[in-house]
């Protein structure tokens, strides 16, 4: 496959707010079901283990007019839930047999209750993440949460989900995680060959198509993305921090890169990389998954940070690991996790003398001039400092 073909596939899926590919999968065989999940981290392999299609529900971005969604939320609540509600009440999510709401923040938590009321005939599950890191406590608690989820999905399909099914899906998702890690590593090394807008659209497509299809396209992209003779530009290398839940519009990502910033690490669709390693194969795959979350999950504001030094060090660690020169703090307006975390991260960046800029966006932000100027100036400044 050529790069253009892969990107076209990704773009078509990214733009499709009717979820045609997911609907097609559901209708291809009797009894098939799809389950939606909200950001940031949901154990989606368990949906796959139940023979169902996991469908990432990330709102409608700048491609959806909010007509009814605004009637559900006050102006001082972020844009994502009103967009999700819009998708739902307009019937676009009617093909979903249920939805999983992870413990990301109070807005998504309360949305789970709204879902129960709006769609009383659907399966709804709020999945609490463990905030105690002791395997005997938080680990046991989260394994239990996972068992409850699996039991609920089994009930929905009319047959229990087996241990072997779970183990098989964990293997598939390990493959998926490894491939995404490889794509991120490729971008880190050669950002000119892996523009973030392309990578992002491929990952967005991966949220709504069958995993096998995603793996095929993503693998093909990894193979071809360094073969078409693209040359590096004199861009600054930046880490984009804070956009782990409500996603920025694609235009904003493109604007940052076109303004002279290679994004070499980010939080976009963070659930994909929430577990930083493969889940080990085990006779008890749910406990293995729970323990991997406790021990080897990415630093995220949706989890309690035990180490008092960690936030202060995090930006320096990420900048160093990515070979970046600066940080762009780009968070959605009214996003508690990102905006409450930001001062702590910025303090660490200050201490490490890491340059940064900050802005807020909404998923439907349509004007990019301000970001172009900000990112362009930042890129120029980084280049000047680098040369000093």
């Amino acid at each position: 496959m050529e790069r253009a073909e892969i990107v076209a596939w990704a773009e078509a899926n990214y733009l499709d707010l009717e979820f045609k590919r997911a609907r097609a999968w559901v209708s291809e065989a009797p009894g098939r079901k799809a389950i939606g999940y909200l950001p940031v981290y949901a154990p989606v392999e368990l949906i796959h283990a139940a023979g169902m299609l996991p469908v990432g529900v990330h709102g409608g971005g700048d491609r959806l007019d909010i007509i009814r969604g605004d009637a559900y939320y006050q102006s001082y609540i972020c844009h994502l839930p009103r967009s999700v509600i819009e998708l739902a009440v307009s019937g676009r999510l009617a093909f979903l047999s249920g939805a999983v709401f992870p413990s990301t923040c109070d807005v998504i938590r309360n949305l789970s209750g709204m879902w129960r009321l709006l769609f009383a005939d659907k399966y709804v599950r709020y999945v609490d993440l463990p905030q105690d890191y002791d395997p005997a406590m938080g680990g046991a608690f989260f394994a239990h949460e996972l068992r409850e989820l699996v039991a609920g999905l089994g009930e929905l399909r009319g047959a229990p989900v087996t241990r072997d099914e779970i183990a098989a899906s964990v293997r598939v998702w390990n493959e998926r995680r490894a491939l995404i890690r490889a794509l991120y590593e490729k971008r880190r090394l050669e950002p000119w060959n892996v523009p973030t807008d392309e990578l992002y659209q491929i990952l967005r497509a991966g949220e709504i198509v069958p995993v096998e299809e995603f793996l095929a396209y993503a693998r093909a992209y990894l193979e071809v993305c360094g073969t078409d003779g693209r040359r590096p530009r004199d861009n600054a290398r930046v880490v984009l921090v804070g956009s782990f839940c409500e996603q920025p519009p694609l235009g904003l990502i493109r604007t940052v890169e076109r303004a002279g910033c290679y994004i070499v690490d980010d939080d976009l669709l963070h659930g994909n990389r929430f577990l930083t390693v493969d889940v080990p194969e085990s006779d008890d795959p749910l406990t293995a998954l729970a323990h991997t979350l406790l021990d080897r999950s990415v630093a995220s504001p949706v989890m309690y940070e035990r180490d008092p030094e960690a936030k202060r060090k995090l930006m320096a660690q990420r900048v160093e690991a990515a070979g970046a020169e600066g940080v762009i703090f780009g968070a959605p307006s009214f996003c508690d996790p990102a905006l409450l975390d930001r001062p702590m991260l910025q303090r660490g960046a200050d201490a490490a003398r890491i340059p940064y800029i900050s802005f807020k966006y909404a998923e439907n932000t349509a004007q990019f001039q301000q970001f172009r100027e900000q990112a362009g100036t930042f890129s120029d400044a980084l280049k000047l400092w680098s040369g000093a």
């Binding site: 109070d106 789970s112 209750g113 709204m114 009321l117 709020y126 009214f334 409450l340």
Partner: protein
């Protein structure tokens, strides 16, 4: 309205003032201090170690009532905190920068331990991560799972009990230098249960006509000792016994609630209120209700530190289990359908004319979903809902004229509706 003041009000003030004096004296007396949150506060356990609790939300609201928070919030925003996030947090951080003066004007002590009771509010987690940076003191996390299915499961109870037993108690032992004393804890829990009986009795007195209490504006005074530091203490028990006696006497005499302007002479409207009050214009806000003869007969905010009126009591026979259950039962840890059930019950049981939602910008735990609550409670009860917007402690978000207009319109609508119902009734049954 006639002027009135009950003895319990004086006692309440004395209790709170004494607590702040004890806190201010802590560096001299050597008493250790634990910061924690109102929802899921484990006051009995903390005090069984002779530790003093500090509730940062209470500090923030007290600062709000004293008109300090505008400057505190500005200070926090200047140092990089977003205008979009919780103003309790920013007021607290600004207060620290300004010398950490408590409501009595004396400095609050630094925490020896941050007890992060993670119950019903995401922001709590960030708040104590931020305070940890300010104070450099240890944090102990107590993760209380959300009641996603509307009740606490046995597994969740055990998870919380395990954390209390194996994480929290050792941390309290270390900071206090004392051993866990279960007999003492049980004694305090038994006292808590008696206090809770009295508090519920007081709240349920609002089923009378006229209601002898205002269960929102007035209610925040009634919950003060219970939600801060006095649950399980002899002085707390004395306060609630006295309050109950006074409220019973008001019922016997057919008196309305005491307000800042005296006893409300005529109860025109009975409303249920969802959401916290605004603190920076608390008195002005309350007056908007009393001017209309409106009384809050039940409120959800007064349940953030425990939903005792649905049956929960601390059980001294099961000390750690009961603490775990207490945390889980706090209002904001309950899922949205359960909250709607509560509100609908309040509207019916307290014979309310309608219900009002005060949606505060700061608090997504309360606010996200309130427009749906509005529709659902209206649908179930047939009683009209009103919706106003303000904030907890950011004076920039209290628009008195707008709120007054909305409230007046709402109460006019209730009056018109009542008149309409009466007319219909007369037509049907001449």
């Amino acid at each position: 309205m006639s002027q009135a003041k009950d003895r319990s009000q004086d006692l309440q003030k004395q209790l709170i003032a004494q607590l702040y004096d004890d806190l201010a004296d802590a560096p001299q007396t050597g008493r250790k201090v634990v910061y924690t949150f109102v929802p899921g506060n484990l006051t009995e356990l903390i005090r069984s170690f002779d530790l003093l609790p500090v509730l940062p939300e209470i500090n923030a609201l007290q600062s709000g009532m004293r008109q300090k928070t505008g400057a505190y919030i500005t200070e926090a925003e200047k140092s990089g905190h977003s205008e979009d996030v919780c103003t309790y947090v920013k007021a607290d951080l600004g207060m620290i920068k300004a010398g950490n003066l408590g409501p009595t004007g004396r400095p609050l002590p630094k925490p020896d331990l941050l007890l992060l009771s993670y119950t019903g509010c995401y922001t709590f987690m960030k708040w104590f991560e931020l305070l940890r940076e300010e104070y450099g003191c240890p944090v102990v996390m107590l993760h209380v799972p959300y009641q996603e299915a509307g009740h606490m499961t046995a597994t969740h109870r055990q998870y919380v009990v395990d954390q209390i037993r194996d994480k929290l108690i050792p941390a309290l032992e270390e900071v206090s230098g004392k051993r866990y004393d279960e007999a003492r804890l049980k004694e305090m829990l038994a006292r808590s249960a008696r206090m809770e009986d009295d508090l519920v009795h007081v709240f349920q007195s609002a089923k009378n006509r006229p209601s002898p209490i205002d269960a929102w504006f007035g209610g925040v005074y009634y919950i003060g000792p219970m939600f801060t530091a006095f649950r399980g203490t002899p002085e707390g028990e004395e306060y609630y016994r006295l309050l109950r006696q006074e409220v019973d006497e008001r019922v016997r005499l057919g008196l309305g609630p005491i307000t800042p302007d005296g006893v409300l002479q005529e109860e025109k409207f009975r409303v249920v209120v969802e959401g916290p009050p605004n603190w920076t214009s608390f008195r002005e806000f309350w007056k908007m209700f009393t001017d209309e003869g409106a009384v809050a007969v039940a409120s959800t905010y007064t349940k953030v530190g425990g939903t005792y009126d649905f049956g929960f009591r601390h059980d001294p026979a099961r000390p750690l289990e009961t603490l775990a259950e207490y945390c889980s039962e706090c209002y904001t840890n309950r899922n949205l359908p359960t909250r709607i059930d509560m509100l609908a019950r309040y509207v019916e049981e307290y014979q309310a004319d309608g219900f009002l939602i005060n949606s505060v910008k700061s608090c997504n735990s309360f606010s996200a979903g309130q427009l749906m609550i509005l529709r659902e409670v209206e649908r179930r009860t047939g009683r009209p809902g009103g919706f106003i917007e303000s904030d907890l402690v950011d004076p920039r978000y209290f628009s008195a004229a707008n709120i007054k207009n909305r409230l007046e319109s709402y109460f006019q609508m209730l009056a018109a509706r009542r008149a309409g119902v009466a007319t219909t009734s007369l037509e049907v049954h001449p």
